[in-house]
């Protein structure tokens, strides 16, 4: 028969007991002590979500130390099916959808820089008026042209007028703004941008049920663009609070309609990375024949005219500023440290609309968008009539406000 010896509680009560002495100050010692084993991380090659996460994180870490060219190549190398966003689209109310996909807020009117009526030199304005009037009259009246096909009227009348106007204004205003002398004016350039935004569950196929990001591509061909070697100043500070909201579209992009295709993913501002003029200034767009006012009103879509101009402005300028930012080495995990600013003028020959865009964030992909409070901003005007009509050799009803805005747009220059 074992006798229960009464054990004293003394060893348990004393704080200097062996057990408690072992537990004390372990945290401090562990941090300074050399770990004998490497950190426990998930595997790289296992078929698990943790492994996939590790691979992606290591890929992003490795990208941070690459040059801009290598970053663009690594992010656009793999081709997959993507939604192609067309700046000129027949879709109804496309501007709200495009705002959602590019995380842009739209503000009516122009930034304070252009809203406050600045004093414009009368002599310069009269020279601008002369250049624009001469360009219009040359195409419509002086040059003897026959009639072309209905679908090619813009190409015959508006495209050469805009070419002459842009060249003439650029040469005229070079003495006011030195950056225009150093700028590069291209005709029929290409602007492309590829990005990831939002997620979708794959409905069918061997990858059914998995969640994948949605890929988008814009391929734009503006009429002309001016690129400068220095950046334009910002309209609002980078972290400023903007009152307007980004519209949220819960429907799938296929319902807009947006269609998916797979081809080379391009990110291009109009020239390759080696070009010293790597920042954008102004783009000029011509409304295609299909989306002219008279054609839209024949189809009963007169209210969609402004909408399609806005959609065009937002898509084209987002693509251009996004590509400019990627050329500087920013991408969705390394967000922009300074805002990228560009301007656009969209015209159908008689009506002009002006757009300004400030890119504050590139982090639109699902992984980076979680805690991103910045949004891109687009300012835009309604379309303004430049002239009422053209009689024999004379332009009736010329609107000076449009010329003033054109002048101010082109005179926007970087600081210093």
């Amino acid at each position: 028969m074992a006798s229960c010896s009464r054990l004293s509680l003394h060893p348990f009560l004393s704080s200097a007991s062996v057990r408690l002495a072992c537990n004390r100050n372990v945290q401090v010692e562990a941090s300074t002590a050399k770990s004998l084993y490497p950190p426990i991380v998930p595997s790289r090659t296992a078929k698990s979500k943790a492994a996939k996460r590790r691979v992606v994180t290591e890929f992003f870490e490795q990208l941070r130390s690459c040059t801009a060219q290598e970053k663009i190549r690594a992010l656009t190398r793999v081709q997959r099916k993507k939604y192609v966003i067309y700046p000129h689209t027949f879709a109804l109310n496309a501007d709200r959808w495009y705002q959602h996909y590019t995380k842009t807020t739209f503000l009516n009117g122009l930034p304070e820089k252009y809203e406050s009526a600045s004093v414009v030199d009368e002599s310069v304005l009269s020279e601008v008026r002369a250049v624009v009037c001469n360009s219009i009259l040359q195409e419509h009246w002086h040059a003897k042209k026959g009639r072309t096909f209905i679908q090619k009227e813009q190409e015959q009348l508006v495209t050469p007028f805009l070419r002459n106007a842009v060249c003439g204004l650029k040469n005229l205003l070079a003495k006011e703004s030195r950056v225009l002398t150093l700028s590069s004016l291209d005709f029929d350039p290409q602007v492309n941008y590829y990005w990831l935004r939002g997620e979708r569950t794959i409905p069918e196929g061997h990858r059914r049920g998995r969640v994948e990001p949605m890929r988008f591509q814009i391929d734009d061909k503006p009429h002309s663009q001016i690129r400068i070697p220095q950046q334009l100043p910002e309209f609002v500070p980078l972290e400023a609070e903007i009152s307007a909201e980004v519209p949220v579209i819960t429907l799938a992009p296929d319902l807009l309609p947006l269609f998916r295709r797979q081809y080379d993913n391009h990110i291009f501002i109009g020239a390759k990375l080696e070009d010293p003029c790597c920042y954008g200034h102004t783009q000029f767009h011509v409304v295609p024949d299909r989306f002219r006012r008279d054609k839209m009103s024949k189809r009963g879509l007169s209210d969609q005219v402004e909408v399609s101009l806005r959609a065009n402005g937002i898509a084209s300028l987002f693509a251009w500023t996004g590509a400019q930012a990627m050329y500087q080495g920013f991408w969705s995990e390394e967000d922009v440290s300074r805002p990228f600013v560009s301007q656009a003028v969209i015209t159908d020959g008689q009506f002009f609309s002006f757009f300004c865009y400030q890119l504050n964030t590139l982090a639109l992909s699902p992984s980076a968008d979680g805690n991103n409070s910045r949004k891109n901003v687009c300012w835009g005007t309604e379309s303004m009539q430049l002239y009422e009509r053209i009689t024999d050799g004379d332009i009736v009803g010329l609107n000076d406000a449009v010329l003033k805005l054109l002048l101010q747009f082109l005179l926007n220059k970087p600081q210093c």
């Binding site: 002086h142 050469p160 070419r163 650029k170 005229l172 005709f187 080696e274």
Partner: protein, 434 residues
Amino acid sequence: MLVIMFKATVQRVSTSALKITQNCKSKDFHSVLIMIPHGRRCLSTGSCLYGKILPRKKPRVVHEIAGLEPITYADRMHFVPGLAKPKFPPWERGWKEPNHYQSPKLEDMPLYKDKPCYIFNQRTNVLEGVRQALWLSKSVLIKGLPDQILTLAEDPANQIENQDERVQNAIKNSRLWDTTEHRPPRERFCPSLLNGLLQLCGGLQVTHSELSKRILAEKYSLAATWRRGEDVFQVRGQNGLLLNSMTPLPVVAGQEQIQSTADQALETFYPIAPTIDLQNTHVYQEKNDTGFREDYPYPHAHTLFLMEMGNTPKLLPEQLRAKMVMFAFGNALARAQALYGKEPSVLEKPIVVQSVATNGRLFQFVVFQLNTTDLQSDSGVKNLAWVDEDQPLYEFAKVKPLIKKKVVQVPSGLSGYQPDTFKKFLALYLHGAV
């Protein structure tokens, strides 16, 4: 004589084919105009691309014998074997429908004339090159540009700041950086290089305010007619980019030089006729038109820019220079006839028109001075043409270096830049505005 007749018949056959073409816009062909030798339009795209157009079967020949009336099955209202096929009068629609329009024969057209006209258009590829162009325009050739323009080129006050670096940037932009593909095709880099150089020249408007009195015109149609010997010649059609100016170009050659041309003989190239390779047509209108209305604020043609991209059709440098001379002459002649009327005479104030042509690397410069519109005879005062040939702007602009046997023969990027060519280009641009 026989040779000339042979060439004329060959020309007649070739011009009937020239009229009928089909524009094929396929990637492989870069919108090449395909010549169809049998003279029929084939409107399907697939067969045109490979030149496989089946020949149309000729209808059976029905012989008419005078005095005998064929017995037809017209009264019987159905086919009867053994009786002839009736010939019904052609049905007239009464109104003109464009999709079912059959043009009348050449002889029945309202503009038909017995005397043929030889037309120089934008697709003409003359055999004898500049010699032929000089004979047709009754001009004398002087090699090299005139001294006034060369002094303009050397003057440092007319240079752009950092000129060489900026021109090289423009070349690299158009040749290397302008595309998402590996390298841009010639149809893209040739116009974009010309645009880049024109932008650089236009930037001089800061210091030279006279440059604001100019404007570019793209697709304008020229028409100029003149008689030479017994033949009627015309220059017609769209040609290229025209720089128009409010003030005329100053006269390049003085009166003594003009009068001394009267003693020089025109170079002929017997046995080849000077009308070779020109479009020969009997249906024409004798038109003289600068392409713009009378109240155009920029009436004086300054410089004509031609781009040779090798597609419609490919012109060798000699033929390209001939095209430049002919179109500069055509512009000057149309202007002279608009100012002084159609009567042929010696001009007191000669008209000067310049021309620049490029294929993306080589530049040709022509300055043409029209002294006389009296082109009927071979003698008398002649016009003057200064031609500067084959000026390279750069030697190579390669995306990938050319390596043979592990030695770099040509490095990648731009190499062999020649600054003098751009100086001449700039001098031609500034001529008249300095």
